[in-house]
């Protein structure tokens, strides 16, 4: 009898060690990526000079002497992401409101998998769609990238915002109705504000998706490595800079591309921190 208990105890201890190891694997991966990026990127930034690197407006890596300024790409990433938020957030939020508060059950069974499918489409397919359907209208431009990214971040925004709306207790909605507010007034003035931090979190996740997107953007944005000039002209994002030139780069050029990755990583860190803060607030 006693032996059985101690066996069980050992088994449990053993299994919890296995789970711990599994959990460690992902932390280890994050740690290794951090280490690799910093170890390879920081020396390049030192060689180029932090100010020349972040503030330089000229990117001509194969000239002699080369120039490694990534300000155009930083601005490019920011503009394209902002544009994606402008196009994607209103549509995404209204979709979430529709799905959570308005949609009849039968329609929901079609709409919901539809939105989920949007999330599963590989980004290169989005890219080809963009080249075939958006570029002929708006050219290889910031605008094309914004529209395409706006579509790509829809599922992220819809999913997170919808679950935030659903998490609002039904009492809020019923209370509003009882006080005489109509359906839409209750939804937009009571339920939506109550889900505020979840909705903001959905926007932040959308930003993360937009800034990290690579393949689709490369195919529609034109990828010119110069300061963004107009909505109808092309632009190169941080991610595009890395992928477009990595294939042939060597020496300092290659290191500068990894350093571009460091900058991108810092951006993503900031976004994730914002997300955690918002999430934490929602919990309270």
């Amino acid at each position: 009898m006693k032996k059985g208990i101690s066996m069980n105890k050992w088994k449990e201890k053993g299994m919890s060690a296995v789970f711990f190891a599994a959990a460690l694997a992902s932390i280890l991966a994050v740690g290794l990526i951090c280490f690799f990026l910093l170890a390879n990127g920081i020396p390049a930034i030192r060689k180029i000079g932090l100010l020349n690197f972040l503030g330089g407006t000229e990117w001509s890596p194969t000239d002699t002497p080369p120039e490694f300024g990534i300000l155009p790409m930083i601005l490019g990433s920011l503009y394209v992401t902002a544009g994606a938020i402008l196009t994607g957030v209103p549509i995404g939020l209204l979709t979430a409101v529709f799905l959570a508060c308005v949609c009849p059950k039968k329609l929901y069974q079609v709409m919901k998998p539809g939105v989920e499918l949007l999330a599963g489409i590989p980004s290169v397919v989005y890219g080809f769609f963009g080249m075939a359907a958006i570029v002929p209208l708006t050219g290889n431009s910031i605008l094309s990238a914004c529209i395409l990214l706006g579509i790509m971040i829809l599922p992220t925004i819809v999913e997170v915002a919808e679950s935030a709306l659903r998490a609002v207790p039904a009492l809020y909605y019923e209370g509003a109705l009882a006080l005489g507010a109509g359906h839409y007034r209750s939804v937009f003035r009571v339920v939506l504000p109550a889900a505020k931090s979840g909705v903001l979190a959905s926007v932040v996740l959308g930003i993360g998706r937009a800034i990290g997107e690579t393949m689709a953007v490369i195919m529609v944005a034109g990828n010119q490595a110069r300061m963004p000039v107009s909505l109808m002209k092309g632009v190169r994002t941080l991610t595009a800079n890395i992928v477009v030139e990595m294939g042939y780069a060597s020496g300092l050029h290659r290191e500068a591309l990894i350093a571009t990755g460091v900058v991108l990583f810092v951006f993503i860190l900031i976004i994730n921190l914002t997300f955690s803060v918002l999430k934490g607030r929602e919990g309270k």
């Binding site: 001509s60 194969t62 002497p65 209103p90 002929p136 605008l143 529209i147 294939g247 042939y248």
Partner: protein, 299 residues
């Protein structure tokens, strides 16, 4: 304040989409408009095709202090791959780009350079000048395993591998006789020749598994220097050999790579001079009407 922000958001979306549509109606369906801006499409910095294009059209500014500047216009749309380049040109009426002759297909229109068609025949007889040779070189007469590998490259089998993407030098090459020696061959040099050399290596090692071939990718000059110094057996170069290299090395031309300037099929232009191409790609000619001073584009 918050409401204002939301209003701005909501107004911005339809405004954006209207902007897009308005632009569309003016471009589609109308005849080719010479007054439109040229949309230059280029490959990325570091691409072999780009560096060859820039070199062949003299778009590289070389100064006496050793500095080099790529004069390709900063406005050029950058296509990462050949197929993206072609989709771009096929989809944009006012676009112009370039690619390796081997990748050309009929979704786009090839432009004559100085009235000469870009074809394998014209490149071989030397009338189409926008081409570069691929050389391999050895120090003196090749010996050992390297000799057999070179005889494979120049055989019908090797030339067939080359002609998949480039222009092979000899259409009637003899079949590979095969006198393999086990050993290791080191090949070094041009990054432009490396892809085809990788394919040759793959084909050769399939026939002769006892031979290992190591390919080191650098550039033409480094490759030639390595052969002269004896640190590799075969050097690769994507240019003519220089005099000081020729005194020590035995070159063998294995392929030709032609570069074609391409435009959209709706573009009435069929021929450009070298200078016109240069003006377009350096950004001096911004509109199609700036290009055709010597020729009427609509003829």
């Amino acid at each position: 304040m918050k409401k204002f922000f939301v209003m701005v958001l909501l107004c911005a979306v339809p405004a954006f989409s209207l902007f897009g549509c308005a632009d569309n109606t003016t471009t589609e369906g109308s005849a080719f408009d010479n007054g439109r801006e040229i949309s230059v499409v280029s490959r990325e910095d570091g691409s072999g095709t780009r560096s060859a294009f820039i070199e062949l059209f003299g778009m590289e500014e070389k100064n006496s202090d050793g500095s080099r500047k790529d004069k390709m216009t900063r406005e050029a749309v950058i296509a990462k791959q050949t197929d993206v380049m072609m989709t771009n040109i096929a989809g944009e009426k006012y676009a112009i780009g370039y690619l390796s002759l081997g990748s050309l297909n009929d979704t786009v229109q090839a432009v004559q350079i100085d009235d000469v068609d870009a074809s394998a025949a014209n490149i071989k007889n030397g009338t189409y000048a926008v081409a570069r040779p691929f050389y391999i070189a050895t120090k003196g007469e090749p010996t050992g395993p390297a000799k057999d590998f070179i005889s494979f490259i120049l055989s019908a089998e090797g030339q067939k591998v080359i002609s998949d993407s480039y222009i092979a030098m000899d259409d009637h090459a003899p079949a590979y006789a095969g006198n393999p020696l086990s050993g290791k061959i080191t090949v070094a040099g041009s990054s432009s020749v490396t892809p085809v050399m990788e394919k040759l290596k793959e084909a050769y090692e399939k026939i002769n598994p006892d031979t290992t071939i190591e390919i080191q990718q650098s550039d033409s000059t480094a490759g030639m220097t390595a052969v002269m110094e004896g640190t590799c057996d075969i050097g690769m170069a994507s240019r003519e050999l220089k005099d000081n290299e020729l005194t020590e090395l035995m070159p063998e031309k294995i392929a030709l790579d032609g570069i074609v300037v391409i435009v959209n099929k709706a573009n009435p232009i069929s021929t450009l001079t070298t200078d016109q191409v240069k003006h377009i790609f350096t950004g001096e000619a911004a509109k199609w009407s700036d290009v055709g001073e010597e020729r009427d584009l609509n003829e």
